[in-house]
Amino acid sequence: MDFASLARTSGEWLRGAGPESDIVMSSRIRLARNLADFPFISRANAGDRAEIERILRERVMKVHESVDLTYVDVNDLQGIDRQFLVERQLISREHADSEGARGVAIGNNEQVSLMINEEDHLRIQVIHSGFDLSAAWDQINRIDDLVEGQVTYAFSDKLGYLTACPTNVGTGMRVSVMLHLPALVITRQIDKLFRSLQKISLAVRGLYGEGSQAMGDFYQISNQITLGRSEPDLVKQVGDVVPTIIDYERKAREFLIRESQENLHDRVSRAYGILRTAQTISSEETMHLLSSVRMGVNLGLIHDLEIPTVNKLFIYTQPAHLQKLTGGELDSADRNIERARYLRRHLNKEEDGREKN
C-alpha cells in the first residue's frame, strides 16, 4: 500500500455526512472471530501465528471479489506506518504494538478493515460516517458471511462465537458510536451521563486519552454485553440511547448560547484565532481548540469553515500523519512547528485562497 498517497486522501467516515453528523462523528461495529483449529493468540507460538496469518490472509482476500480489499503486512511496516494506521482507526493500538505475523485488509474507502492476529485471530470492523448503525450492521454481517464461507470459525451451540476474552464471547460484537460532546463537558454534565450509561451496561470511553479527560471531547459509547442477546438487539441497545445523548448535548449548547452567548462566542473565536496563527502547537492543545471550533461551526458562530475540514484536521494533525505529509521523521518540537504550519495553511486559505502569515 502506498502510504504517502493514503496520507493525502481521507476515509469515508471522516466526510462529516450522515445522520446527526454535527454530534455523531461515526458509527462503528466490530466482530471478533477465531479459527476452530488453532489456539487463541495467547497460546499460539510464532509458527501458529504465521500459519493463522497465512490462512486468513488467503481466505479473506478471496472476499476481495465482493469487497475491494488491500492487504497490509503490519509486521513488515515501519513504526511510523503502524502509527499512521492507528490514527486512521484502521488497526488498534494493541495490533500495532504487538509482535509476530499479523496484518490488516482494508477496503471500501477505509470503511472496512479486517485485522488478523489481534487479540482474536480475526477482527472485522466497519465504520460509517454519522449515526448509521443499521447500515454498518448490514455491511459487516455480509462480510462476516463471506469470510465464514471460507473458514471454520470457533463456535459453540451454547456460547456462540468463542473468543480469547470471555467479555466478547457470544456475538463477539462491539457496537460503538463516537460522539462529540463539548457542551456537556463545559456544563460539567459528562460524568453524570457516564454514570447513567453504566447503569444500563453501556461502556463510555474517551477516544483520545482516558475517562472524562478525553481529548477533543470525543466519547465512544458501546455495549458491554455480548452474550445472550442477538446482534440486532445489541445494535438497538446502543442505537436507542444515542438520540437521548444527542438531545442532552443540543440542550447544553442551547443553554450556553442563551446564558452566555458572549462567553461561548469568545471561546470559539479565541480557539479559531490560536489555531490560525500559532507558530508551534502540541497535539493536545490542537484537539482541545479544534473541539471548540467544531462546535462553533455547528452553531453558526464560524461561517468560513466546513465540518469535513475540521474532522480531517483532528486526524491529520496527529504525529504519524504529520510526518507522512512532510515525508520525514520529526521530533516532538519539530512536529509542533509543522502542526502549526499545517493548521495555518488549512484554516486560512478558505478566506482568500492563499496562505496568510
Binding site: 476452530a36 489456539p39 464461507g149 459453540s156 456460547l159 453504566q198 445472550g228
Partner: protein, 168 residues
Amino acid sequence: MKCQRCEKPATFHITELTGGKPQELHLCEQHAREYLTESDAETAAATPSLAGALAHHLAVGQTAEELARLDQQSCPICGITFFEFRNQGRLGCPHDYVCFQKELEPLLVNIHGETVHVGKRPRRSKGNTDSQTELIRMRREMKEAIQREEYEKASKLRDDIRKVEEGK
C-alpha cells in the same frame, strides 16, 4: 499470611487484572469486602471489567487451598492453567470454554447476565468443531514430541493430523 491492611489472617486472595500489571492482594474478609466494593465503584467506568468480575467471583467464598487447586487445573488441548488465564485474562483455546466451564459460568453471568448465545450462527460449519479442537491438541503434542526428539511419535501425529485435515 497476614492481611495486607490489618493483623488478621488473609483468607481472600485477589488478583487484580485491571491496569498494567496483575496485582496480587491478600486480605482478611472485612478488608476484602471493602476492597471489592470500592474497586467496584471506581472501576465500573473502566473497560468491560473482566478483572473486577473475576476477582469478585473468585474471592467470594473461596479459600486459599481451593483457589490453589483451581489454579492448577489445565486444559488438555492447549495446556493453559487456570492460574495463567486468571493472570492474563485471556483464554488459550476454544476448548477452555468446555474444560473451565464450571469456573467460567459464574463469570459469564457476572459480565453478561446470560450464559446462552441467541445471535447469529455460522451457516456452513456445524458440528465439526470437536475434530477441529483435536487438531489443536495434536499439533501441540507433535511440537512437544519433536522437542523431546521423539520423532516416531511426531511422525505418527503428523499423519493423524493430515487425516483429520483432509477429512473436513
